[in-house]
Amino acid sequence: MTYAATVVTQETRRITAEDVVMRVAIVALVAFLMLAIALPLATLLSKSFQDSTGRFVGLANYVRYFATPSLVASLWNSFWVAIVATVIVVPLAFLYAYGLTRTRMRAKGFFLALALLPLFAPSLLSAISFIYIFGNQGFLKTWLFGASVYGPIGIILAQVFYCFPHAMMILITALALADGRLYEAAEAMGTPRWRVFLTVTLPGVRYGLISAMFVVFTLVVTDFGIAKVIGGQFNVLATDAYKQVIGQQNFEMGAVVGFVLLVPAVVAFALDRQIQRRQVALLSARAVPLEPRVNPLKDTAFLFYCVVLGGLVAAVLGVAVWGSFITYWPYNLTLSLKNYNFAEFESNGFGPYFASLHMAAIAAIFGTAIIFSGAYLIEKGQGFASGRALAQLLAMLPMAVPGLVLGLGYVFFINAKWNPLGFLYGTIVLLAINCIAHFYTTAHITAATALKQIDNEFEAVSASLKVPFYRTFARVTVPICMPAIFDIAIYMFVNALTTVSAVIFLYGASNKLASISIVHMDEAGATAAAAAMATLIVLTALTAKLLHLLLDRLVFGKLQAWRRR
């Protein structure tokens, strides 16, 4: 019997009510992902091939882009600044990660937490800090020997701070995956330490190093906030996109810049996928984890390094916090809450802060529900395989799309004349959907990883017990995955709170977000108030994270006794 013949004789399974529920859910997921991710990007792409009247003009916009010297200069600026930042931040992060994974230095948990601090702040907070330090009235201005911090120097400094935890986390993962027996074998053969480092350690983390470089490069090229605050007259791709769209209302050229921004991100994403596949293959299932041994000299040296670096990270963050409490820098250094009286700087007063909280809460609650249920349908669903495969593809797409590009896509998509969803423009719901889409992939991977660890036969067992899948989902799958669900929710909340680039194009008059209000107050010269708003965001994000940790302890320690042996 040929394969084709067996397809023809395939027995058709009767469709039950349960199957209908499953299929409707998958269709709804695909529809959401199409609307929230695929269509905005498609609109952006098509816009870049049209003129202002919507006529197809081929590559004319691109030709015009590359013929405009100022725009090409921005491209070059973005490129070299990103290279310099990458070259600085990756070695720094490598040593820090090495100390945390391969030595027996003390207080590893503390130094890990210290280095992760920048993740809880909007990227532009570090730019504000460096203005306080090296700016026109900076207290260490003389250290720059007359050079100005407003420009490439400031951008690079702030980016190093902002990208440090991202690079460090990738390198910690790479360094933690080591086969202790390779080191024992090398030692047994009397290999000198430097040679072990060159022949065992570096090859083991080379994929992590490459991955970290691409991630940092992409972060720098696509970040908007830092260049906006500290870039001065130094133009980069991200600020160009903003100026073209918001300043000049030149949507076509904005689309072209958006597309140019997409290129490095997509390349980095594709390479990273390749690399991760190999990284996993490096470690066999029988590998023994490496236990670093006590080495007083090495441990002390790395402790010293981590104190210095971690101290710098905390100091940069601290300067902005400190600055926010200073009454009138640099003339009146008494501490006060004057800068937190946002009504003086911002028509809505505390409005943006509450708008941010509101939006982040929506993104966290609905985003987590959509993403986790979506991952369940993709991983454990039955039938409609093509729909599930499409959903999986769309779920992985946002990782390759910078926030600024997604934001541009949303502007064009939602304002298109043919779009019946246009009424959403400027609403908090659209901002939340945009955040969910922007941070979809990481959250999806978290959910899928947790789901993959669950016994595949749960669905089979519940079918044999005549219990519908959605009941087992609610009664078993969700409780088991609760830690991952909390992780996703807090990830969504913190990122929705701190993001600038995705939402800068989308806010409406009544729901300006805190991160955008920072940009505006800084633009208006109210740096201290901008610092105050940034501090408020950091405090909120950190509080949320601490509550999460506490909840994790309490809920999963006491109430979920079934996790303990």
């Binding site: 394969y3 067996t6 089979a460 067992v461 079918a463 044999s464 017990l465 009664r475 078993v476 042996r565």
Partner: protein, 362 residues
């Protein structure tokens, strides 16, 4: 007897690989049937097709006289126990066992009574409020069994239920499962790759290989009268020789010329496979003149407790290897040692003849 499960011409392919190739069989009411075979032979796929967890490419499934081919698992009437047990870790033992009952909107009191009854049945009456992680592997197994039996299904499916347990627990549980199955009279299909388990538990064994049924029979049948060289080799230990029919009632293995029963219809010169169980090799009362007396050299003795497995080489055909089991008694009485020469008998009626063609899978 009425067949409770009937499988007719079931074929299942994964790409170009035929996991099940036109399989047909019937399982009688109230019997325990084992699907036995090496990994990849299709036994688990067949079980999942019967359960409706896999959809076959062609063929029919009947359970209890009802054609269930187009029905999803939830509309077929069976309980299932997986190798991993698939107990819900966040639910207590009682909640796991009552999981399917709650959904049927039975009164809470009735459910509690049924759960208690089931847990007593599997020998775990005191463990209702524990979570699965707090139980041993064998206890988890029993809970999974109680859960599968909760709704009184007419068919019980066991997918390698014992292979995750250590040897002692395995032997005890297999006796318990068999006793329980007898008591409830529930038709049971169990998948296993362990021939000892199948021989000990099954009323009937279905030996599978490469997606096809090789032989169906009682354990004694399968062991004593394997239909193919594959079955002979897979179930129990078996010496296998390439041989040639030498004449009426005579076969030749290399330089050995032996008398042999069961050569009906075989022509002189025809190539055959010859099988002999190690325990059939005689060592007592064998003289130079008796039938199929073969002088051998004892090359190696593996001490296995109650008996020794000996590796013998016929003096007249040193390229052949003959494995035989000698009881501890025989070892002591005859003083068998490595390197020694002795004469063993290969009883003509114990030599099993197989066609060369059917030996493909062995």
């Amino acid at each position: 007897m009425v067949p409770h499960v009937r499988v007719e011409g079931v074929t299942k392919r994964f790409g170009a690989f035929a996991a099940l190739d036109n399989v047909s069989l019937a399982v009688e009411q109230g019997k325990l049937v084992c699907f036995l075979g090496p990994s990849g032979c299709g036994k688990t796929t067949l079980l999942r097709v019967i359960a409706g967890l896999e959809t076959q490419d062609s063929g029919r499934i009947e359970i209890g006289g009802r054609d269930v081919t187009p029905l999803p698992p939830s509309q077929r009437d069976f309980g299932i126990v997986f190798q991993s047990y698939a107990l819900f870790p966040n639910l207590t033992v009682a909640q796991n066992v009552g999981y399917g009952l709650v959904n049927r909107r039975k009164p809470r009191k009735e459910i509690r009574a049924r759960v208690a009854e089931l847990l007593t049945l599997v020998g775990l009456p005191e463990q209702t409020s524990k979570y699965p992680v707090q139980l041993s592997g064998g206890q988890q197994q029993r809970v999974a069994l109680a859960r599968a039996l909760a709704s009184s299904p007419s068919l019980l499916l066991l997918d390698e239920p014992l292979s995750a347990l250590d040897a002692r627990v395995r032997v005890r549980l297999r006796d318990e499962i068999k006793a329980l199955q007898r008591r409830l009279g529930i038709t049971t299909i169990m998948v296993t790759h362990d021939q000892e388990e199948a021989l000990a538990m099954a009323d009937r064994i279905v030996v599978m290989n490469r997606g096809q049924v090789e032989q169906v029979g009682s354990p004694a049948d399968i062991y004593a009268r394997p239909a193919t060289a594959f079955v002979a080799d897979f179930v129990g230990a078996m010496n296998m020789f390439d041989a040639e029919v030498a004449g009426p009632g005579r076969v030749r293995i290399g330089a050995l010329d032996l008398a042999c029963g069961g050569l009906n219809g075989k022509q002189p010169g025809q190539r055959v496979k010859l099988g002999l169980r190690p325990e059939e090799v005689r060592v007592r009362g064998v003289e130079a003149g008796s039938a199929n007396a073969v002088p051998v050299v004892v090359e190696l003795l593996d001490f296995l407790g109650a008996f020794c497995r000996a590796t013998l080489r016929p003096a007249a055909a040193r390229d052949l290897v003959l494995r035989s089991d000698f009881s501890a008694n025989a070892m002591r009485d005859l003083g068998i040692k490595e390197g020694q020469t002795l004469t063993v008998g290969l009883p003509p009626e114990a030599l099993r003849v197989f066609d060369v063609e059917t030996a493909g899978g062995a």
